[in-house]
């Protein structure tokens, strides 16, 4: 009977995370359209509600009421499951991330993390890597050549960048000596100078580049490259199933933004109110950065991506690990 409150608390936290972050993911689509528009000297959505803010509601209604078409030659079961994998893994990955410092409300201490597993960052990266199955299965089951190409590109991109993600995060982890994100955060308590970015700038840049690939954002959005493969793995999807791919993508963006802020930029520091605001601000900056690069940078070709990953990023990451190891040893 001792475990009942913990279970209830966990369920409440899980539901809260899903609700809050799907709402934020929806809102991010609006922000993205607005920021992209401003950067291209346009106005963006303006007609639905004041400054087009109700565009989210209009899009939501459209997605929910749109016909859910399943192509007759598609593999039905796989086709239907694929978007659920993307959305689910995106939210499951959030389970091990401390979004805010511990705070007290009505005399009850709340830990804003669903479960502080001791392999936190490994869990997050592992679940996000599992998310690869969403686009892959969608691409293979759609009976469409564009989808198939999108699925193939998913595999080459995500498999390549998993290597860089793992290797680049390894050197900060060697310094911290723990995989728990709360431990990583606590390692950096004590002001800006203690942030891991100053000790591991190369790892920070590598991880950021790999993060772009993990969440399929612009320099590396080969999966649904409109100019080449229509809409990639999502070509045959419509309605809410397509919407789930999108919610998954934006939820992944938020996860990665929090991950970078916690691992390299000090997270919430010692855990006051200011720290909570700081971590949200840092995460918001990275989400803005994702949109910013989308406005500024071109895509790269798949062969350039492979070249870049295996011939540039991976050697740099390994050299970084070796140097970190030597510095720690002597």
């Amino acid at each position: 009977m001792q475990e009942a409150p913990i279970i209830i608390e966990t369920v409440i936290k899980a539901v809260a995370i899903v609700l809050v972050f799907s709402a934020i993911a929806g809102f991010t689509t609006y922000i993205e359209r607005k920021i992209l528009a401003f950067m291209q000297r346009r106005l963006g959505p303006m007609n639905v509600g004041p400054y087009g803010i109700l565009q989210i509601a209009a899009d939501g209604i459209k997605l929910f009421t749109k016909e859910d078409i399943i192509p007759s030659k598609a593999v039905r079961a796989v086709f239907m499951i694929a978007p659920i994998i993307t959305a689910a893994t995106a939210f499951i990955a959030m389970a091990a991330i401390p979004f805010l410092p511990t705070f007290e409300i009505f005399g009850y201490t709340v830990h804003p993390i669903v479960s502080d597993v001791n392999v936190g960052i490994l869990f997050v990266l592992g679940v996000m890597a599992t998310g690869m199955y969403g686009p892959l299965l969608a691409g293979m089951s759609s009976a469409n050549k564009w989808s198939l190409l999108g699925g193939a590109r998913t595999v080459i991109q995500l498999l390549s960048f998993e290597v860089v993600t793992g290797l680049s995060i390894l050197s900060p982890l060697m310094m911290v000596g723990s995989l728990s994100l709360i431990d990583i955060n606590n390692y950096q308590v004590g002001g800006i100078t203690n942030w891991l970015i100053w000790q591991q700038p190369v790892a920070f840049v590598l991880f950021l580049i790999a993060a772009f690939a993990e969440v399929n954002r612009t320099p590396f959005d080969l999966l649904e490259h409109e100019a080449e493969i229509v809409s990639g793995y999502a070509t045959e999807y419509s309605g809410m199933r397509w919407g789930m791919f999108f919610i998954g993508e934006y939820a992944n963006m938020i996860t990665v933004a929090f991950l970078v802020s916690i691992v390299f930029l000090g997270g919430f520091g010692d855990g006051g109110l200011l720290g909570g605001l700081a971590v949200v601000g840092k995460a918001m900056f990275f989400i803005f950065f994702f949109l910013w690069t989308r406005a500024a940078w071109p895509h790269i070709r798949p062969d350039q991506l492979m070249w870049f990953t295996w011939k540039v990023l991976m050697p740099v990451a390994i050299i970084n690990i070796v140097i970190t190891g030597f510095v720690m040893m002597f």
């Binding site: 401003f38 291209q40 500024a296």
Partner: protein, 203 residues
């Protein structure tokens, strides 16, 4: 954009900037140095800075169309208008039928009769806009500047027959004071009086 720029249709070289491009690298070492140079040149950050600057400057170029419209050139050829004489308010059209004759898509029809003053009066005048190609020959050929092209380019209507009968095109009598002399297609070029030469009689 000023109207002068808008009206300048001369395609010249004034808008082109010649680029100083290097030849692509041939041997592996050149390729490598090019990669290193491009990596540390910071061009990606130039791109980021430019879009960020544009966002902060907030110099928005969107035209929110139904609320605001771009100016159109005076020689734009949209739905036709039939003009009236400015002083008397009589119709300018003398029923000569030249427009009907010159119309290459054969979409103008007019009916005329002799009225009580022994003048030709136009009873019916219609343009089939479904066929009209807006070539402007009718406005050009009209000796009285009666049929001209207007600026009304929003042709959405419940019925195809709208806009095309005489009452729709003719300036209403009570709006006569708002009728402006047409500067556009088929109008007399300003200063053309000076170009008129006397007919040589020396033959």
């Amino acid at each position: 954009m000023s109207l002068e720029q808008f009206k300048n249709r001369n395609v010249g070289t004034q808008n082109y900037v010649p680029l100083d491009l290097e030849m692509p690298p041939s041997d592996p070492w050149d390729k490598f140095t090019q990669v290193v140079k491009r990596t540390f040149k910071g061009e990606l950050f130039v791109g980021l800075w430019i879009v960020f600057r544009e966002m902060v400057k907030f110099d928005i170029h969107t035209v929110q169309y139904p609320q605001e419209k771009l100016p159109i050139g005076p020689r734009y050829r949209a739905v036709h208008k039939l003009l009236r004489l400015l002083e008397s308010g009589y119709e300018r059209c003398i029923g000569c039928g030249l427009c009907e004759k010159i119309c290459i898509s054969d979409c103008i029809r007019m009916d005329t009769k002799i009225d009580e003053n022994s003048r030709k009066e136009v009873t019916e005048y219609s343009i089939n806009l479904g066929r009209c190609i807006f070539c402007g020959y009718c406005a050009e050929v009209c000796p009285e500047l009666a049929i001209v092209h207007g600026g009304r380019y929003e042709n959405a209507s419940e019925q195809r027959a709208h806009y095309v009968i005489k009452d729709d095109m003719l300036t209403p009598l009570d709006f006569l004071k708002d009728q402006e002399e047409f500067p556009g297609f088929g109008a007399i070029i300003p200063g053309s009086d000076a170009d008129v030469k006397k007919t040589p009689t020396a033959y």
